[in-house]
Amino acid sequence: MRLFHRALYPVIGLTIFGAAFIAGLGPRSVGAQTGEPAAQDADGSDSLTLPPDVRHRLASAAPAKSPQDFGPAVTFWEVLGKVKTRYVDKITNQDKLTHGAVSSMLRALRDPYSRIITPEELKLDHEQALGHFSGAGLVLGARLSGDLVPIKMGAAAPVPPGPARRESDDADRVWQLVVVDTVPGSAASKADLQPGDIISKIDGVRIDRAPLATKTIDDLNLMLNGPEAHVSLLTIARPPDDHAIDVHLDHLGPVNEPPVTARLLPHNVAYVRIHLFTPTTGTDFAKALSPIYADHPSALALDLRDNSGGSLSAAEQVVGALAPNGLAGLLDTHAGAVTKLTAAADPQTFSFQRIVVLTNNGSASVAELAAAALHERAGAVLAGEATFGNGLVQSVFPLKNGWAYSLTTGRLRAPDGADFNEHGLAIDRPISPNLINTDSAVAAALPSLLAMGKAP
């Protein structure tokens, strides 16, 4: 097996629900799109066309840019008619057709995060976004097999927008199921699963080499983290040598990501740990830090180890509290557009002489964005291990009856333009992998890290 070190996309990395996301992106061009007139009906030579009322209905649901855009819809509509009138059995469940069509279209994108989501899976996703886990307590992700080196911020010229394109051999790259993080206290955490472990067997049953080509990540999430999960044995391949390890899971059950915690360390260092960016993390952060801040700590250690990301606005608030009124990052979207993300201008801000952000390879998504922004904007020193490398943003769009679908709609970059997706962030002060998972060792290392001063 090869090494697998690319593109980690935590399930709950960053999900922005459709309406809000789109509402913000649209205005540039809305004017030109509105009200596809029925007058454009003449779409050429096709003898078969949509009846005006059907066409009008579609045009008002999603305006087409040109009359030709309706061409495929005519074919699709024709198929529906044939199935309705000719198929040997009467179709009783229209939803099944809808889900079949939409999921098939999404699967064609070969992106594990663009997928259809059942109501049950959607509920699980929502719970997990709030930090409420059940089952094994695993934060799952997908990654493309292959190697990449972490990105050193400031060291490289800003990456142009658009997906990273390489001439390397892509043919053998497949999407794999990986552990992004484990929830503290969960069965997975007790079993010592590590970020980056590739799951190859569940209860002894080999999942495909490319499991995400046949199952959605939600199927696997439900299997491992659902309320009814009953998995007891995982076989994983652990980088860097993809050593196969059997991991036994005991005492599956509900477990929550810990809340934001803060305490004062020796040498007047404030220490705050964030395990997950939930929608309330911004205010939780301020609340936890305020009492300690009253003691005028000289430095802050912000611990983002094993933080798989989460709410973008929460991350913007945390960045805003420490480095107000500036960039929190950049967001690339489909047509090459770049949106500037601003650090929230919170009423409550905190100022420190020095900041250390602790990361490991379980720090992903908006946790990486926050680390990069603080590095750049507040001179924070990144210490620990290189991060995961997930900058992708999904939007969720509703279907009828509680179903929905998720679509990858953008990619986050650091404020200076550095692309950490797939690469991960390089750190300024490495901490030995043997020590990184030991809180006391990290605490002991902090004073010297802080003494080294600000990053250049």
Binding site: F76, G81, T85, T98, S104, R107, A335, F397, P398, L407
Partner: protein, 524 residues
């Protein structure tokens, strides 16, 4: 707009499908880097291939035959085996769909709307996260052109519709596949004559057909094709592999073969693969043996000619070998049945909520043949084979020998669509003359000889498997010969009636075979 862009996202999707506004009025900029052709995301592909029904591109499938290990099989020949394929090509003449046109307006409007919104959302907002460029079956980058992407995604949506029917035989044929299907039937293809199998993402040669370029190049069963003309077959479907391997006769194709851990290129010159769908000979001195590999347009004539030849040589009994015959055209099955069974229904067909309609024998002027008849069948005898075997069995016109047949009791119609694509849609069930529904059951032979064999799992198993399979085939044939000899001993009178007599000629014209070449102009 930066600030409100995603201020506080609602925690739940809103109840109404919110249509995102396009982000730009310009056509989406194309990912410029042209990358070498890689793979297809034929999402419906898996289901499609499992089918067995397939006619696609001439390549198709013995779906269920391989259900044991989830592999599928396609054939790279001009036209050849079409597993379980029993369908009628019906040109949609003007009016054919009109009566139902009104129904279409109301056909699943929610599905249409959801498709449309999803299509536009994807085209306008999808951010391709991977450095892997997506290609269609024909190797065109789909993101390089919004119009192409819309079409490709729509086809994927239709494939999704088809697979949601849970009917292995209903499937979508994109314009290319539909065209190839028509060409296949015309037999005008350059190929190499190898039967491909699609196993866990690997393209495996199941069988090089005899006297083909593939056989001449010494390709072996279980050889893995890892590249075609330098293009990796990784995650390729056998359908796409077939398309790449085929080409103009006389042109070369280079396959990179992986055999026993060693990798080497094989250069093969394509040739017209004459699908040898019929074979006849006299065996054991006085028994006429006919092997029918496919119910194609020529089958009835081929059989008739063979029977005439047998008549001159005074054969005393007939063996009709339908083993491994995946089916073909309904009318051909009816023509053939008319040669062997008494006048009456050959098969009953029934549409949804329709009556059972008998399809009768066609009163072939050349009459019915009354020699003792043994019909050989096996697990891979499907569709039209089962109709013929079922009619012969139910009318006691012959003895069925072998193993239980495939079990396909559904009829598809190939319906051309407005953009030169098509769907094969299951529209009817069929029943044997005794009223039996054979779908998923198959026809149990009068005399069971042999057993259904699992397909070989590895190169090492192949030799053993072939030996066993050959031995079983021989035992089945021996059983048929012995049976006929016994019957000849009992009934000389029947044997003397000869072959090819026009005892029941009525002068009515034969029903012509269904047209495989429905003129495209006839569709609406």
């Amino acid at each position: 707009m930066e600030n409100n862009r995603m201020g506080s996202p609602p925690e739940k999707p809103s109840s109404e499908a919110s249509e995102p506004k396009p982000a730009s009025t310009q056509p989406a900029s194309a990912p410029s880097a042209l990358r070498r052709v890689k793979n297809v995301a034929l999402t419906a592909g898996v289901l499609l291939f499992l089918v067995g029904a397939g006619y696609r591109t001439g390549a198709v499938l013995q779906g269920r035959s391989l259900a044991g290990h989830g592999a599928t099989r396609a054939i790279v020949t001009g036209a050849s085996r079409i597993r379980g394929n029993f369908q009628r090509m019906i040109a949609l003449g003007p009016g054919a769909g009109d009566a139902r046109l009104g129904m279409r307006d109301k056909a699943f409007p929610q599905t249409l709307d959801s498709y449309w919104v999803a299509l536009n959302t994807i085209v306008q907002h999808f951010y391709n996260p991977t450095p892997i460029t997506l290609f269609t079956d024909t190797g065109r980058a789909i993101f390089s052109n919004p119009q192409r992407m819309r079409t490709y995604l729509t086809y994927q949506g239709i494939r999704g519709i088809m697979s949601s029917l849970n009917d292995p035989y209903s499937r979508f044929l994109d314009p290319e596949a539909y065209k190839e299907m028509q060409q296949d039937n015309a037999g005008a293809f350059g190929g190499i004559g190898a039967q491909l199998e699609d196993e866990n993402g690997k393209i495996i040669i199941a069988k090089p057909l005899p006297d083909t370029p593939a056989a001449d190049a010494h390709l072996l069963p279980m050889d893995q094709i890892i590249a075609i003309n330098g293009k990796s077959t990784h995650e390729m479907t056998s359908e796409m592999a077939v398309r790449l391997i085929r080409g103009k006769p006389g042109t070369p194709v280079t396959l990179t073969i992986l055999r026993a851990g060693k990798q080497f290129p094989v250069r093969i010159v394509r040739a017209i693969i004459n699908a040898q769908n019929f074979d006849s000979k006299i065996i054991d001195g006085d028994i006429g043996y006919m092997r029918l590999m496919l119910f194609d347009e020529q089958a009835a004539d081929n059989v008739e000619k063979a029977l005439e030849g047998f008549g001159k040589k005074n054969v005393k009994g007939l063996v009709l070998d339908l083993r491994d015959n995946p089916g073909g055209l309904l009318n051909t099955a009816v023509d053939l049945a008319s040669k062997f069974i008494p006048p009456g229904p050959v098969v009953y067909v029934q549409e949804r909520a329709g009556q059972r309609v008998a399809i009768p024998t066609n009163n072939d002027p050349r009459g019915r043949h009354r020699l003792p008849l043994a019909v050989l069948v096996n697990h891979y005898s499907a569709s039209a084979s089962e109709i013929l075997a079922g009619a012969i069995k139910d009318t006691h016109s012959g003895t069925i020998i072998g193993t239980t047949t495939w079990g396909k009791g559904l009829v598809q119609e190939v319906i051309p669509l407005n953009d030169n694509s098509a769907i094969a849609l299951t529209i009817e069930r069929y029943y044997t003359p005794s009223g039996a529904d054979i779908n998923k059951k198959g026809i149990t032979p009068d005399i069971v000889v042999g057993r259904q064999m699992a397909e070989p799992q590895s190169q090492a198993d192949v030799a053993k498997w072939l030996n066993e399979r050959n031995a079983m085939d021989k035992t089945q044939l021996d059983t048929a010969v012995a049976l006929i000899h016994r019957e000849i001993g009992d009934s000389k009178a029947v044997a003397n009636s000869g072959v090819g007599s026009g005892a029941q000629a009525t002068g009515r014209p034969r029903i012509p075979p269904a047209s495989l070449h429905a003129p495209a102009g006839q569709k609406r």
